[in-house]
């Protein structure tokens, strides 16, 4: 029996249309729009102004706190303006807009393909460099990576868990990076292990990627302490707590962080970015994303520069299909619908999914038939039907008691509901309000 997490879960159609498409390089955009907030936490502070010349890899916005991350220029050229423009969420946020002129990189960045395996930096140097390089979790949550590496006093990390499950349907960027950059990933993992002072790393990969499991297992034999753990394909296994449950059989307590059970989780793409930052002096300004959809001509995987407009990657994959009704940044389960194709791709862009109306249309809400399916699929052991009713009735105290804050917003409940009730929509509203109440109490 393959391992998986302890409760709930669903298995949507996988639709990994782009799994066989090797990573290609997307052309550099003419104008790059680089938001100063591409991570969870405080937005960075812009340190360039109109007219400044910038090079690839140069810091253009400085981290403004512990949970924050530097932003680097992904292109070379002239700062055209620093202004509020619409980002992927539909809100106007400060971005640095650069007119591109050639492709001039900072000199200390090593652009060769040579594999550097020797790790010369100390633990402290690694953590600092990861922070300086603006690395965030590349799974989609964009939590600054150096924060997770800074183990709080009194706690010890035992195992580094590498999140390579890619449980969202359609997405294949992690899959391709594993097939094409396995050695670099392994060195990245060794670097992370050194920073955390752990002897063991487990790479969790779902068994719908047998080629990646085989390749990574074989490459891992060259490195000590790194093992590949094949997992049963089950959404939302990429959830931090679910992945720890699947690979380590430990449950992170409600409201606690993974370090509570001795685990630190990093995305496989993050491990690759860490390799580049430490061994190649290359900050995070480009990454791989999947562009996919059933009607799209060429579902494929692309390495892009941060700030490239969404429309460019769509063009590269054969243009926007006629029947596109929704453009999702990320996967179909947790991704966010974009308001326009003119917004830029960012560090958190793991994929772009074009859905036709019949795939994504919401059906009319019917009465709850109390089938309990939402309860049995909830990976956190919650009762979504009840949380929806309580949120609707504004019973915030009961919502809190029924652990609404444990919800990881995976959407399994809404996905499953035969009465097509928008369970997660209501739960989010309830969570927002309960969160406010809890903060006010402190």
């Amino acid at each position: 029996m393959l391992k998986t997490f302890s409760i709930g879960g669903i298995h949507p159609e996988e639709n990994k249309l782009s799994a066989q498409s090797a990573i290609q390089e997307l052309p550099i955009p003419k104008i790059a729009t680089i938001p100063i907030a591409q991570h969870i936490g405080a937005p960075a502070k812009a340190i360039v102004k109109k007219g400044d010349e910038v090079k690839v890899g140069q810091v253009i916005a400085q981290s403004s706190g512990f949970v924050s991350a530097n932003i680097h220029s992904s292109v070379s050229g002239t700062v055209f303006k620093v202004d509020d423009v619409m980002d992927a969420t539909g809100f106007r946020r400060t971005s640095i807009i650069i007119k591109v002129d050639g492709d001039e990189w900072l000199e200390h960045i090593d652009r060769s393909e040579d594999l550097v395996t020797e790790i010369t930096q100390t633990k402290e140097e690694i953590i600092k460099r990861v922070g300086d390089a603006g690395i965030v979790g590349l799974g989609g949550a964009t939590f600054p990576a150096h924060v997770k590496l800074s183990v709080p006093p009194g706690k010890t990390a035992e195992v580094l868990v590498i999140n390579a499950v890619e449980c969202e349907p359609y997405l294949t960027s992690d899959h391709r990076v594993m097939l094409e950059k396995a050695d670099e990933i392994m060195v990245g993992i060794e670097i992370l292990m050194k920073a955390l002072e752990v002897k063991k790393a487990i790479i969790g990969i779902e068994n719908n990627k047998p080629d990646a499991i085989a390749h990574m297992t074989q490459v891992a034999t060259k490195y000590s302490g790194i093992e590949v753990c094949p997992l049963k394909t089950q959404y939302p296994q990429g959830g931090e707590k679910q992945l720890i449950s699947a690979t380590m059989k430990r449950e992170v307590p409600s409201g606690a962080l993974p370090i509570e059970v001795g685990a630190v989780v990093q995305n496989v793409g993050t491990a690759f970015a860490v390799y580049e930052a430490i061994q190649k002096n290359k900050p995070l300004f480009e990454r791989v994303a999947t562009i996919t959809g059933k009607s799209l001509k060429n579902p494929s995987n692309w390495k892009f520069r941060v700030g490239t407009p969404v429309s460019d990657i769509i063009e590269a994959a054969g243009g926007l299909p006629e029947d596109t009704a929704k453009i999702v940044g990320g996967g179909p389960m947790m991704g966010k619908a974009l308001v326009s194709v003119d917004v830029p791709l960012t560090k958190g862009s793991s994929g772009l999914l074009l859905l036709a109306e019949e795939e994504t249309a919401r059906k009319a809400t019917k009465a709850c038939i109390r089938c309990g399916k939402c309860v049995s699929v909830c990976p956190m052991g919650l009762e979504p039907y009840l949380l929806m009713v309580l949120a609707d009735k504004k019973e915030y105290e009961r919502l809190e008691n029924d652990a609404v804050m444990d919800c990881i917003e995976c959407g399994s409940c809404s996905f499953t509901c035969p009465a097509t009730r928008p369970l997660l929509d209501y739960i989010r509203l309830g969570k927002g309000k309960v969160g406010q109440i809890m903060r006010a109490r402190k």
């Binding site: 652990a403 035969p418 009465a419």
Partner: protein, 331 residues
């Protein structure tokens, strides 16, 4: 480029599951038992089934449209299930007017007075059945014999069910061994070759339906398995303690409405608990009550009452029995 796009929160896809799919899945699972009842009881079975289903549809439409003035929901398939289940709980020679009254009570009182599908506390078909059992005890307990396809309806040859044979015999002071000898073999009972209501005789067909529903994930194993398991354990203990006074597990499983109740009645979404743990408690409760009523009660059969009693506890179970939360400390 087309610039008009939908913006809505995640998830952006849906499983495609629907109320209809589940309801018609249950109907499909009931087909083997239905067909077998046609085979055993013939014309009477067809008349009873058609009357029950048609009346349920009719009353649901009529009451919703003209009395409650809401959009009728007959298309969701739940009235069809209630109709078939109601027929499953009736003898094949029940007069048509009694069937119609049963349907009116089931749909009108059991379902729509509570607000329709999703809001009823008690299983509508059981409400109808128990109402008839109390109101028309003679007609409701005169079962035609399972003789193969027969064209007679009202004047079919009748006989007692295995449960009634045992109950009445024990009350008269007969020995259990002698009584058991009068019963059909276990295999005959499993295949449905005995007296009883339409849907309760054919254990094999009901189990086939259960397997279908489990494979299709229409229901989970928790309720049927906990009911059947409890009955096996409880009746097994009684039987071991006093073999001459209490029949064993095989008898209790194969006779009467136990399998029908465990597979199709107790698993009704609306009137059963939401969490797996709750379902187990509910199932164990039904199992214990069924045996208690059968063995110690006045009626030979107790499953219907057991389910209705446990239905009443479901809201309480839902409030107090929470699923195991992720990350909860195990004691």
């Amino acid at each position: 480029m087309n610039t008009k796009v939908l913006v809505a929160p995640s998830p952006h896809i849906h499983s495609g599951d629907s109320i209809q799919k589940n309801m018609y899945g249950v109907v499909f699972a009931m087909l083997p038992a239905l067909l077998l009842s046609f085979y055993y009881f013939g014309l009477g079975s067809i008349i009873v089934t058609l009357t029950a289903v048609a009346s349920c549809y009719f009353f649901e439409f009529l009451i919703q449209k003209y009395l409650l003035k809401v959009e009728p929901t007959i298309k969701d398939g739940s009235a069809l299930i209630t109709g078939i289940l109601l027929a499953f709980n009736m003898p094949a020679n029940l007069p048509i007017w009694i069937i119609i009254i049963g349907a009116l009570v089931a749909i009108g009182i059991g379902k729509l007075t509570f607000g329709g599908l999703g809001n009823n506390v008690f299983n509508p078909a059981l409400v109808g059945r128990v109402f008839l059992l109390i109101s028309f005890p003679v007609q409701m307990t005169s079962w035609p014999k399972a003789l193969g396809f027969q064209t007679s309806y009202l004047d079919a040859e009748t006989g007692a069910t295995p449960l009634a044979i045992i109950k009445e015999g024990l009350n008269k002071g007969d020995s259990l061994t002698d009584l058991m000898a009068q019963l059909p073999s276990n295999m005959d009972m499993f295949l449905g070759n005995m007296g009883g209501s339409l849907g309760e005789v054919a254990g094999a067909a009901l189990v086939l339906g259960l397997l279908y529903m489990l494979v299709k994930k229409i229901i989970t194993w928790h309720i049927p398995v906990s009911i059947i398991g409890t009955v096996v354990v409880f009746s097994g203990i009684l039987n071991m303690a006093s073999p001459e006074a209490y029949a064993g597990p095989a008898f209790h499983i194969l006779t009467g409405g136990l399998l029908l109740g465990a597979i199709f009645m107790a698993t009704d979404y609306v009137t059963s608990p939401m969490s797996n743990k709750g379902m187990l408690i509910y199932g164990i409760g039904i199992g214990i009550l069924s045996v208690v009523i059968r063995v110690f009660g006045a009626y030979p059969e107790g499953v219907s009452f057991a389910i209705l009693i446990m239905n009443a506890f479901v809201p309480l179970i839902n409030v107090y029995v929470k699923p195991k939360r992720f990350g909860e400390k195990r004691k």
